[in-house]
């Protein structure tokens, strides 16, 4: 019987990143994954036996560079079908706007010089803010108390970075930190396609509309991410997102991590107020001195630990973690290539014609209703493959979808699919006739399949009041928990989810730093 000193619950990207980092430091780590395959949101099921699996995440946007390098993912098989992916802001008339390079460094399409200049100025400003904030992603959130194990040097450097923006830009930063993205776009940009696209990107995966205050910072967070070594860029791995999951799993195993799939943890074993292992759903007990949970914080505390080991105020806060998923996932198998009125299929295609379209799609969700005209981000993976042939598949993140539909899940799913296909038909006439298989995952479906609370891929909404030292809530924002020996390392912790590994890596660093819980 092998023995482990560390158990990581959840073999998603954060769990794997955390395990690999700990293993490199000499820990004997065991990762327990409930699903049959590790990789969390980077994995998925196939629509039909002869089709490739459709992962929940379909693009790389925020893979943490420490994870990419530290886990040597490229050595372990990660390669790219596309890097620096272009985005096409689709127009229903075919008058598309194309954004090339990271966050639209270049524009092509019908847009005048003033429009280009305005975008360039805004983009430059936001990129400089994102650049200054990016290091935050790689630190343990500071505590306000003194002598709390803050990494003061790193924090000072970030502060200095913000001050180095210069007085005017620093002021702009303070003004814009909690602003809504819609106001910024209306102030600075005239082009509806561009406004719609940026508004969409800002609230992708969030439970906010573009008119909600605090939405700009989510866009900055997106810009602060890296893919394939470039800030604010997008990449598509060769073989799909599953390749990232596989590379991470291989890397972790190469580092000495034991990976057990199909192993659902039933509860955390607590003795003398210390976590000392886990008990699997089937009753098997595995002991270890350190238990790290990379699953959602609410489930960790309320289901695995149990309220009786926690204080009432703490349970109250855990209960109050907001995790409303607002995104549905659409998977289509198509007989042939769809035509989005001439748009390059090997780009990220976004349907969000203006700010109002995004805001109105969010409106319905607030009341548990399905939007009439959802907005979406579309990827056609086969368009990126050289030996393309046969059918196509379409993967789309469709917003917004209610996490608690009033009409009931089945009825809401049916309407969501119908409304989504209707929008698609406007942008790609005839696409309806190409569909051989379709699947739409509502937030509740995503929760059931991936275990993400509320179907939110951040496990806890990424919003200012749940960010940084408030993520998922103040008492556990530094990855440590009140139960000695139990740590958090999932997307519910700073800096949030996506196929990133940053939270897991940060947690591992914090555990290894020896700062007491």
């Amino acid at each position: 019987m092998p023995s482990y000193d560390t158990i990581i619950i959840g073999g998603g990207t954060n769990g794997l990143a955390c395990a690999a980092r700990l293993a490199k430091a000499g820990k004997r780590a065991l990762v327990l994954e409930a699903a049959e395959r590790a990789g969390g949101g980077a994995t998925g099921a196939a629509l039909a036996p002869d089709l490739a699996p459709m992962p929940l995440a379909h693009l790389l946007t925020t893979l943490d560079p420490r994870v990419l390098d530290g886990m040597e993912l490229e050595r372990h098989g990660l390669s790219y079908a596309a890097t620096g992916l272009t985005t096409t802001a689709l127009s229903p008339t075919g008058d598309h706007l194309v954004l090339e390079g990271p966050a639209g460094a270049g524009l092509s399409g019908t847009i005048d010089d003033a429009g280009r200049a305005a975008w360039e100025a805004l983009r430059r400003r936001l990129m400089s803010f994102a650049e200054a904030l990016a290091p935050f992603r790689a630190v343990t959130p500071p505590r306000i108390a003194r002598k709390a194990g803050n990494d003061n040097l790193k924090l000072a450097r970030i502060g200095l970075g913000l001050r180095r923006l210069g007085q005017d830009e620093f002021r702009e930063f303070l003004r814009m930190a909690l602003i809504n993205i819609a106001d910024v776009l209306e102030d600075e940009i005239a082009d509806d396609r561009l406004r719609g696209l940026v508004a969409f990107d800002a609230v992708l995966g969030a439970w906010l509309g573009p008119r909600s205050p605090n939405s700009l910072i989510l866009y900055l967070n997106r810009l602060a991410g890296e893919a394939a070594g470039t800030r604010a860029a997008l990449a598509l791995p060769r073989g799909g997102m599953g390749a990232v999951a596989d590379a991470m799993a291989r890397s972790a195993e190469a580092a000495g991590v034991t990976l057990r799939t199909g192993a659902r943890v039933g509860r955390v074993l607590i003795e003398e107020d210390r976590a000392c292992g886990v008990i699997l759903a089937d009753g098997e007990e595995i002991r270890a001195g350190l238990v790290v949970s990379a699953i959602g914080p609410k489930a960790t505390f309320l289901d695995l630990v149990g309220a009786r080991h926690l204080d009432t105020g703490f349970v109250r806060r855990a209960t109050n973690i907001r995790a409303r998923g607002g995104a549905a996932k659409l998977h289509l198998a198509l007989k042939g290539a769809p035509d989005f009125r001439g748009a390059d299929p090997a780009t990220r295609l976004v349907i969000a014609p203006d700010i109002a379209s995004v805001e109105e799609a969010f409106n319905a969700t607030k009341y548990g209703e399905v939007p009439e005209r959802p907005v979406m981000e579309i990827v056609l993976p086969k368009a990126h493959e050289r030996e393309a042939g046969g059918g196509h598949v379409l993967s789309a993140i469709v917003q917004f979808a209610p996490h608690a539909p009033r009409a009931g899940l089945d009825e809401a799913r049916r309407r969501m699919l119908a409304n989504t296909l209707e929008v698609l038909e406007t942008y790609a006439p005839g696409i309806g006739g190409l569909i051989t298989h379709s699947e739409l995952l509502m937030p509740q479906d995503i929760e059931a399949r991936y275990g993400m609370a509320g179907g939110n891929w951040h496990h806890a909404e990424l919003s200012v009041e749940q960010m940084l030292f408030l993520r998922p809530f103040a008492e556990v924002a530094q990855y440590a928990t009140p139960v000695a020996g139990l740590w958090l390392a999932g997307a519910g912790s700073h800096p949030g989810g996506g196929v990133s590994g940053a939270a897991g890596w940060n947690a591992a660093e914090r555990i290894l730093s020896g700062v007491a819980a």
């Binding site: 602003i179 106001d183 008119r211 605090n214 109105e360 009041e465 008492e475």
Partner: protein, 537 residues
């Protein structure tokens, strides 16, 4: 004839600033475009025998330090606390509120025993935040982007204030400031109507919905006032809201200041980058050593100052300053008190605020209409009958009713309001009240309907925003109204802002006027008897 200070606009903040300057010995004139004094704090007889508080309608935020400094009670100001109120529910019931803690608790218990107790916890939590923020109202915000000793000292003071709290409370406060009131209330309450009632203060006057992040802070903005030390309480000014500006005017005149009505300003005169006086609409020029504008920042700089005198970056920020109106108003003279069958006979609720929106969702949907450029089909209203408390405002047995309505956009689908739009808006409101008060329409003697268009035309509030600028973080504290210009100074020397566009923002509070005067007197090193904010004990 030359003045030490000319103040544009005889609203409450302009008058407060004028009073402080006059009392410090400056020769002061206030010029007002309307033929009456008061700005948005007015009492007007729009129907014979009836006094209308036709803009602002309740009093709580006005800083007691200012009332005392300027001896407003001596000059006739009386603030009357009011009691109670009710939210009518669609099922024919209601949720009432009471000043008496026990009565209030029992009322909440009718809707949810758990919420009745949660309310105490909620009140204490909000009060903790109020205790932190109140002392900030009468202080000039520091500029965090400079290294001036004064700004650093003020930041350090702020840091110490924060440091007086525990880590947990600081986190709670940051969370509270950034979240939506809807989410915040969900953490305490289960009853939809209780949540709807409590969400009111978080949306009044704003272009936010109860589900918008940042709305919880707005709640604080409405809670930090007090009536005689009773924090969070509201009252009426006896004789209508004009009583405040009338008392200020009397105080100003007693200090030797002048007020000129019917004197619209055409332009702020600027020479060599300094304000030197005003030119009135008739062409008359008034020379002044300095000019204070009680107009909002957009109106001041985009309409009355030559933008060539201003840095382009500043102009851009003023142009993009958000002051979207979100509210309208109905002012109604009633032949008799309205009857609400849902209420028990003789119930005291009519002495307070009446609401007809029984869920947060209905409020948010009303906001969705605003976002789409319509007035709300099912609007939220904060309706009061001040004559239930104040006998001076209407003939005996008759009543004045003030209905504050959200949401009403500054433009309808991008175009200006028409009279037909306005009438339809008024009808929507009347229909809503009549749903709960049969026969209401028959009691109306006279009615004034005000949309953002009328508010802008009469009071001069750009886009009809009652706070002279929205209360979101990009426009609060050191960001208000423009980063780098939050200390009442403007890019033009000797031109100052003293209205609600400046920190700490809108409401009949008087703080911006007082703080602007404080900055001017500080520059002059003049002696002043200005009181510091009362300590929070």
């Amino acid at each position: 004839m030359s003045y030490d200070a000319a103040i544009i606009g005889a609203g409450h903040n302009g008058l407060v600033a004028a009073c402080y300057l006059a009392r410090a010995g400056l020769k002061v004139v206030v010029v007002e475009k309307n033929d009456w004094i008061g700005g948005a704090a007015v009492s007007r007889e729009l129907y014979p025998g009836f006094t209308y508080s036709n803009c602002s309608y309740v009093c709580s935020l006005f800083r007691p330090e200012i009332m005392r400094d300027l001896e407003l009670p001596k000059h006739g100001l009386q603030v009357l606390p009011y009691e109670g109120g009710a939210v009518f529910t669609r099922d024919g019931g209601y949720l009432a509120t009471f000043r008496d803690h026990e009565a209030n608790r029992r009322e909440l218990m009718r809707h949810s025993p758990r919420d009745a107790e949660a309310y105490d916890r909620y009140s204490r939590d909000v009060m903790r935040h109020c205790r932190f923020i109140r002392p900030l109202l009468l202080r000039t915000p520091p500029d965090p982007a400079t290294f001036r000793p004064r700004d650093i000292a003020e930041l350090a003071w702020l840091g110490r204030k924060v440091g007086e709290m525990s880590e947990g409370q600081i986190c709670d406060m940051i969370r509270f400031w950034t979240m939506s009131i809807s989410d915040f209330l969900d953490e305490y309450f289960e009853s939809p109507v209780i949540k709807a009632y409590l969400a009111v203060s978080a949306i009044i006057g704003t272009a936010l919905g109860p589900m918008s992040p940042g709305s919880a802070y707005v709640l604080l903005h409405h809670y930090m006032g007090d009536v005689d030390g009773n924090v969070g309480a509201w009252g009426f000014a006896r004789g209508g809201m004009g009583a405040i500006t009338q008392a200020l005017t009397a105080s100003l005149r007693a200090a030797g200041g002048e007020v000129r009505t019917g004197a619209g300003v055409e332009k702020v005169l600027v020479a060599n980058g300094r304000a030197t006086g005003l030119r009135l609409e008739g062409g008359e020029e008034i020379a002044a050593r300095r000019v204070l504008s009680n107009m909002d920042v957009k109106r001041t700089f985009l309409k009355h100052v030559d933008t060539a005198e201003l840095p382009p970056a500043f102009v851009k920020r003023v142009e993009t300053f958000k002051s979207r109106g979100s509210s309208g108003k109905l002012n109604i003279a009633l032949d008799a008190a309205p009857h609400f069958p849902a209420l028990p006979d003789g119930a005291p609720m009519l002495k307070g605020d009446l609401h007809f929106t029984d869920s947060v969702e209905r409020m948010e949907r009303a906001y969705d209409d605003w976002k789409a450029g319509h007035f709300s089909r099912d609007p939220f209203q904060d309706t009061m009958i001040p004559t239930m408390i104040d006998p001076t405002m209407a003939p005996p047995g008759k009543h004045f009713m003030s209905c504050f309505i959200q949401y009403a956009p500054p433009k309808i689908e991008g175009r200006d309001w028409t009279d037909a739009d306005r009438d339809a808006f008024g009808q929507t409101v009347i229909d809503q009240i009549a749903e709960y008060s049969p026969g209401f329409k028959d009691r109306i003697l006279h009615m004034e309907v005000r949309t953002p268009r009328e508010l802008e035309a009469e009071v001069g509030l750009t886009d009809g925003n009652i706070f002279q600028g929205e209360l979101t973080f990009d426009q609060l504290l050191f960001n208000r109204p423009v980063p780098g210009y939050a200390q009442y100074k403007t890019p033009i020397r000797d031109l100052w802002l003293c209205g609600s566009s400046a920190h700490p923002g809108g409401g009949v509070m008087g703080a911006p006027g007082r703080n602007a005067a404080s900055e001017i007197l500080r520059d002059l090193r003049a002696k002043t008897e200005m009181r510091q904010a009362y300590a929070v004990v």
